[in-house]
Symmetry: C2
Subunit: 222 residues, 2 copies
């Protein structure tokens, strides 16, 4: 399977690229607005995997080129770039491409981090609004601590949640997530409950800020 | 310490009464709008603890009587009864009484459960608004699966979160929670981030609804 990580030069994109690169044989493509930056980071990820004995080809392209012919496109960009990014690759998406949204809208004040959903109700809904109508959209990988995800020396032992209205697409993304060692994927429901999933991210940051010895906090459900 | 559980006849009140009754020596008082109902449930909790070899006196009173001379008053009532309940016991509260709010506002539609905060921003903020100004308010015990909490045969092995602006009060409530076997209490920050804590409750219900074999879902952070 070919997975494009738009904004794959950022921290969540890096973590997913390294984990899928290490734990699976899927074709990983890094996208960025700046193709030179995408190639540079793709090379860094190759080097990291090579240092662990894996001879892996990871390519880097401008976002629309990265999305071209991908089976799964992960929009690993900040929430405020999400609509523009999805629209910039829209002509490369169709009913056979799954668009995955891991972004979360947050704001910070003196009390800590708050969930700050866009007018669409959730960032995942914003991604769905920006995508062509026939493209299945799945919210996933929201509340993964990015540094922990990107450090292959760390055993994850975490849960992550998927939301979406297309059960086949959601199942495929759940399977992809489950191929990452130490990651369990749970179904949190349809796209309409994405806000409850996304709001875990400010919470785990607040917990890390307020409890000594806790950092890169993740979550498990049972 | 004397702990009053207003609405202690409901499911979260029952769970806290049984756990504190079983794991600690604190004086447990059950409150209800109906004093006969409070006495009846207190007797049931005594019987349950007695069946496990514990000779425990648990008393039941009308809410204001239950709150009288309590060190900690837990408003274990539904969110839509919270303001009325707190106001009905207000004259029994003072700066030496800690008011604990475990309630969550939710609504359900065809997608599942949603967090539905009141105008105050969170249910914990609503409790603070309803309480006299000098009473410290702590949000706690929101996302505990009630059936699991009330079943003393079940090892909890869960986290719960506290929020509040009075660090001494928050610390005392955290200590009380930590005295429950298998429960770890984490500090999620000041009262201003209570919404991020409360919104975990609809999420865990959605997870239980969408994943086979999961029920009474709780959460751990690490």
């Amino acid at each position: 399977m070919r997975i494009a990580l738009l904004g794959g030069t950022g921290d969540i994109g890096e973590g997913l690229a390294l984990r899928w690169g290490y734990d699976t044989d899927h074709d990983i493509v890094i996208g960025s607005r700046d193709p030179a930056r995408a190639r540079e980071k793709a090379g860094e990820y190759e080097t990291e995997l090579d240092s662990r004995g894996l001879d892996r080809k990871i390519t880097g392209f401008e976002n629309a080129m990265a999305a071209d012919r991908a089976d799964v496109v992960v929009a690993a960009v900040p929430a405020y770039h999400l609509s523009d990014t999805v629209e910039s690759v829209a002509e490369k998406l169709d009913e056979d491409t799954i668009l995955v949204s891991p972004a979360v809208g947050m704001q910070r004040d003196e009390d800590g981090f708050h969930y700050n959903p866009p007018g669409a109700g959730s960032v995942t809904a914003l991604a769905a609004d920006a995508a062509p109508d026939d493209v299945p959209v799945v919210g996933a990988f929201h509340n993964l601590a990015a540094d922990r995800l990107a450090n292959l020396d760390v055993e994850l032992d975490l849960d992550t949640l998927v939301v979406g209205d297309d059960d086949d697409a959601k199942g495929l993304v759940a399977d992809l997530g489950g191929e990452i060692e130490g990651l369990r994927v749970l179904d949190a429901g349809p796209l309409g409950v994405a806000a409850e999933v996304e709001s875990v991210t400010p919470l785990v940051i607040n917990i890390a800020m307020n409890n000594k010895g806790m950092h890169d906090v993740g979550v498990t459900f049972d």
